[in-house]
C-alpha cells in the first residue's frame, strides 16, 4: 500500500510544478527577490517557510470550526506570527550569523501571501492531515523556486555556492577568473531575481502549453 493516496500525493506534487505558488500563482514574490542573493539564505528561508506553513496549516485546520468567520484573518495572523517568532528564536539560538543575514525577512514571513492564501483557501475547509500535506507541498514549491534562483544568483553573482568559491578566487585570479571571467554584479541586485523567475516561468510554460493563459 502506498504511503499516500493518489489524491493526497497530488496535494504535495502539484505545487511543485503545475500549480507552483511563485511561478503560476505569482505569490510570495517579495521574499523571492529579497533573500535569494545567497543560496544558503534561500535554503534557510525555504525551510523556515516549510515549518511555518506545515504547522500553521494544521493549527488552522484544527481550529477551523471554532473560528468566527468575521475575525478569521486576525486569528490566522496570530497563528503565523506565533510560529514565525518561534522560527526566529530557533534561528537566533542555533544559527546566529544566518539569522543576522536574513534579518527582517524571517519576521516578514508573516506577510508572505502564500501562507495566508493557503490558510484561507485550504486549511479552513479541510482536515488536519490534508492541510498538513498541502502546507508542506506549497512551501516546497516555494522553496524550490527560491533555491533555483538562489543557486544561479550566487553562482553568477558572487562565484560561490554556499560560500565555497567553486569558480576560483576572483582576487587571486585562479580558476576561470584567470582567463578573464568576472562576477556579474547585476545578479546581486533584485531585478535579476525577477528576471530569473521570469525565465523559469517561460521554460515552464513552454514545456506545458496548458499553463498559458489567454
Amino acid at each position: 500500500m502506498a504511503l499516500l493516496s493518489k489524491k493526497d500525493s497530488k496535494l504535495i506534487l502539484d505545487p511543485l510544478a503545475d500549480n507552483n505558488p511563485i511561478t503560476i500563482q505569482v505569490l510570495g514574490i517579495c521574499s523571492a527577490l529579497a533573500i535569494t542573493a545567497q543560496l544558503k539564505a534561500s535554503i534557510v528561508m525555504a525551510i523556515s517557510v516549510l515549518a511555518v506553513m506545515g504547522i500553521g496549516n494544521v493549527v488552522i485546520s484544527l481550529m477551523r470550526n471554532i473560528i468566527p468567520s468575521k475575525i478569521r484573518i486576525i486569528v490566522q495572523l496570530v497563528v503565523v506570527a506565533a510560529l514565525v517568532i518561534i522560527v526566529d528564536q530557533v534561528l537566533k539560538a542555533f544559527a546566529y550569523s544566518l539569522s543576522k543575514e536574513l534579518s527582517v525577512f524571517i519576521g516578514l514571513i508573516i506577510t508572505n501571501c502564500i501562507i495566508m492564501g493557503r490558510f484561507e483557501a485550504f486549511a479552513l475547509a479541510n482536515g488536519p492531515w490534508r492541510s498538513f500535506l498541502d502546507g508542506i507541498g506549497n512551501a516546497a514549491g516555494y522553496g524550490l523556486i527560491l533555491v533555483i534562483v538562489g543557486f544561479f544568483r550566487e553562482l553568477l553573482g558572487s562565484g560561490t555556492l554556499l560560500g565555497y568559491q567553486v569558480l576560483g578566487d576572483p582576487i587571486q585570479k585562479t580558476g576561470i577568473y584567470a582567463i578573464g571571467y568576472e562576477n556579474n554584479g547585476f545578479m546581486l541586485l533584485s531585478p535579476m531575481a525577477l528576471i530569473i523567475v521570469g525565465l523559469i516561468i517561460w521554460v515552464q510554460r513552454a514545456r506545458n502549453k496548458d499553463l498559458i493563459e489567454e
Binding site: 578573464g180 571571467y181 568576472e182 556579474n184 554584479g185 547585476f186 545578479m187 541586485l189 528576471i195 521570469g198 517561460w202
Partner: protein
C-alpha cells in the same frame, strides 16, 4: 547568374522548411522581394522597415568612423600629451586608424554576429520572418560601450538585451525598452568596473595601470563630478577629441546625423528639440542655484552644477542619446504632443541624474530607459485629452 538569382534559388529551395525565414531574410535584406501581393490592398513604398533602419545606419557611419580614429588618437595622446596641442593634424593618421580598427571592429562584429544569431534562432523556432530591428541596435551597441570592454561581456550583454529586452515581448515593434540601451544598462550594472571610472575610456589604460608609464583617461563628466579640472576645451568636445564611449564623442557628427534624420523624416525633430530644451532648462536651473549662492565651491555637486548650462549638450553622451536613441519610434511616444513631453523629460532628467548621481556621471541612458517606460502613459493621456476635447465640441454642437 548573379547573386540575386542565387539568393532567389536558395530561397525557393528552402520554401516551406524550417529554415525558410533565415534565407528569406538574407534575400530581402539585399534585394526587393520577387513575389507580389495577390490580394487585398497594394501599397508600394520605398521605405519599408529595412530601408528605415538602413537610413539610421547611414547616419551612424560617420560616428563609427570618427570613433575608430578617436580610439587610436586617445590612446596615443594619453601617452604623448603634446598630440593634443593640435588635434586636427594628429587625428586622421594611419596609426590612429589601425589601432582604432583593431579595437573597434571586433565590437561591431560581436554585436552584429551575436545579435543576428539570436534573431535568426528565434525566427526559425517561432517560424516567423527575421525582424530587421537588430540592424540599428547592432550598430548602436559598439558605439555606446567603452573601448576596452571584453568581448565575452559584450556577448553576454547582447544575448541578454535581445532576449529579455526584445524577444520576450514579441520581437521588433513590441519591445518596451530600447534594446541597445538595455544592453548597455546590463553591462553597466553587471560589470561596473568595466563601464565607469577613469580607466576604461582610453584603450590600454586598464592594462597599464600601476606601471610607470600608466595612462589615464577620465571623461569630462567624470572630472566634473569629482570637482577636478579637465584639460579639454569646449571645441574639443564639440569636434569630439575627448575620451568617452566609442562613437558618442563628436557632437558635430551627431548634429550632422540629426539633420540627415530630420531631412529624411526618420527621426522626430520634436523629440530632439524638446530634449535639448529640457537639458538646457535643467542646466539653467542648476546654474541659477549656483549663482544664488546656495551651493558653494567644495560641495560635491559644485563641479557639475556650475558647468555652463549649454556645455551639457556637448559633453558626455547626451547628444548621441537624444538623436539616435530617444527618437526610436518603437519605444518613444507616438503622439506629436506626447513627443514634446517625452523629449523634454529625457533632457531634463538626464542632466538631473548627471548632477546628483556622481557614481554614474552620465544620465542619458537611465533617463531614456525611464521615459521609455512612461511613453505609453504619456500617449494615453494625450489621446484621452483629445477625446475629451472632441466630446466637448460635439456636445456644444448638439446642445
Amino acid at each position: 547568374m548573379g547573386l540575386k538569382q542565387n539568393l532567389h534559388k536558395l530561397k525557393e529551395k528552402y520554401r516551406g522548411t524550417k529554415m525558410a525565414p533565415a534565407f528569406n531574410a538574407l534575400h530581402t535584406f539585399l534585394y526587393t522581394p520577387n513575389e507580389t501581393t495577390h490580394s487585398g490592398s497594394h501599397v508600394r513604398v520605398v521605405d519599408d522597415l529595412k530601408r528605415t533602419m538602413n537610413t539610421v545606419i547611414m547616419a551612424l557611419v560617420p560616428c563609427l568612423i570618427f570613433g575608430i580614429f578617436n580610439a587610436g588618437f586617445q590612446h596615443y595622446a594619453a601617452i604623448d600629451a603634446s598630440l593634443r596641442l593640435d588635434p586636427l593634424a594628429n587625428f586622421f593618421t594611419w596609426d590612429n586608424f589601425i589601432l582604432g580598427a583593431w579595437t573597434v571592429l571586433p565590437l561591431v562584429l560581436i554585436s552584429y554576429g551575436v545579435g543576428l544569431a539570436v534573431e535568426f534562432i528565434f525566427a526559425v523556432i517561432k517560424g516567423h520572418e527575421v525582424e530587421e530591428g537588430y540592424l540599428v541596435t547592432g550598430m548602436l551597441v559598439p558605439l555606446i560601450v567603452p573601448i576596452d570592454i571584453p568581448l565575452w561581456m559584450l556577448t553576454v550583454a547582447v544575448i541578454f538585451g535581445v532576449v529579455i529586452g526584445k524577444e520576450v515581448f514579441g520581437g521588433t515593434g513590441m519591445n518596451i525598452l530600447n534594446p541597445a540601451l538595455t544592453i548597455r544598462a546590463f553591462l553597466f550594472f553587471a560589470y561596473p568596473t568595466w563601464m565607469s571610472g577613469d580607466k576604461v575610456w582610453v584603450h590600454g589604460a586598464r592594462d597599464m595601470a600601476g606601471q610607470p608609464d600608466a595612462i589615464s583617461g577620465e571623461t569630462i563628466l567624470g572630472s566634473l563630478a569629482q570637482n577636478q579640472e579637465h584639460a579639454y576645451s569646449i571645441w574639443d568636445s564639440f569636434w569630439g577629441f575627448i575620451p568617452g564611449s566609442v562613437g558618442e564623442t563628436s557632437t558635430f557628427l551627431i548634429l550632422l546625423g540629426a539633420i540627415f534624420l530630420i531631412y529624411t523624416k526618420i527621426g522626430s525633430w520634436r523629440i530632439m528639440l524638446s530634449a535639448v530644451i529640457g537639458a538646457l532648462t535643467m542646466g539653467l536651473i542648476f546654474n541659477g542655484v549656483v549663482n544664488a549662492g546656495w551651493i558653494q565651491e567644495g560641495n560635491s555637486f559644485y563641479g557639475l552644477m556650475s558647468e555652463t548650462f549649454w556645455h551639457h549638450l556637448v559633453i558626455g553622451g547626451l547628444a548621441f542619446g537624444i538623436v539616435y536613441m530617444a527618437t526610436d519610434p518603437v519605444t518613444g511616444s507616438q503622439t506629436n504632443k506626447g513627443k514634446w513631453y517625452y523629449g523634454f523629460l529625457i533632457g531634463f532628467i538626464s542632466v538631473l541624474i548627471r548632477v546628483f548621481n556622481p557614481a554614474y556621471p552620465e544620465g542619458v541612458m537611465l533617463a531614456i530607459l525611464l521615459m521609455n517606460v512612461f511613453a505609453p502613459t504619456i500617449d494615453h493621456y494625450v489621446i484621452q485629452g483629445n477625446v475629451k476635447k472632441r466630446m466637448k465640441r460635439l456636445k456644444a454642437k448638439t446642445a
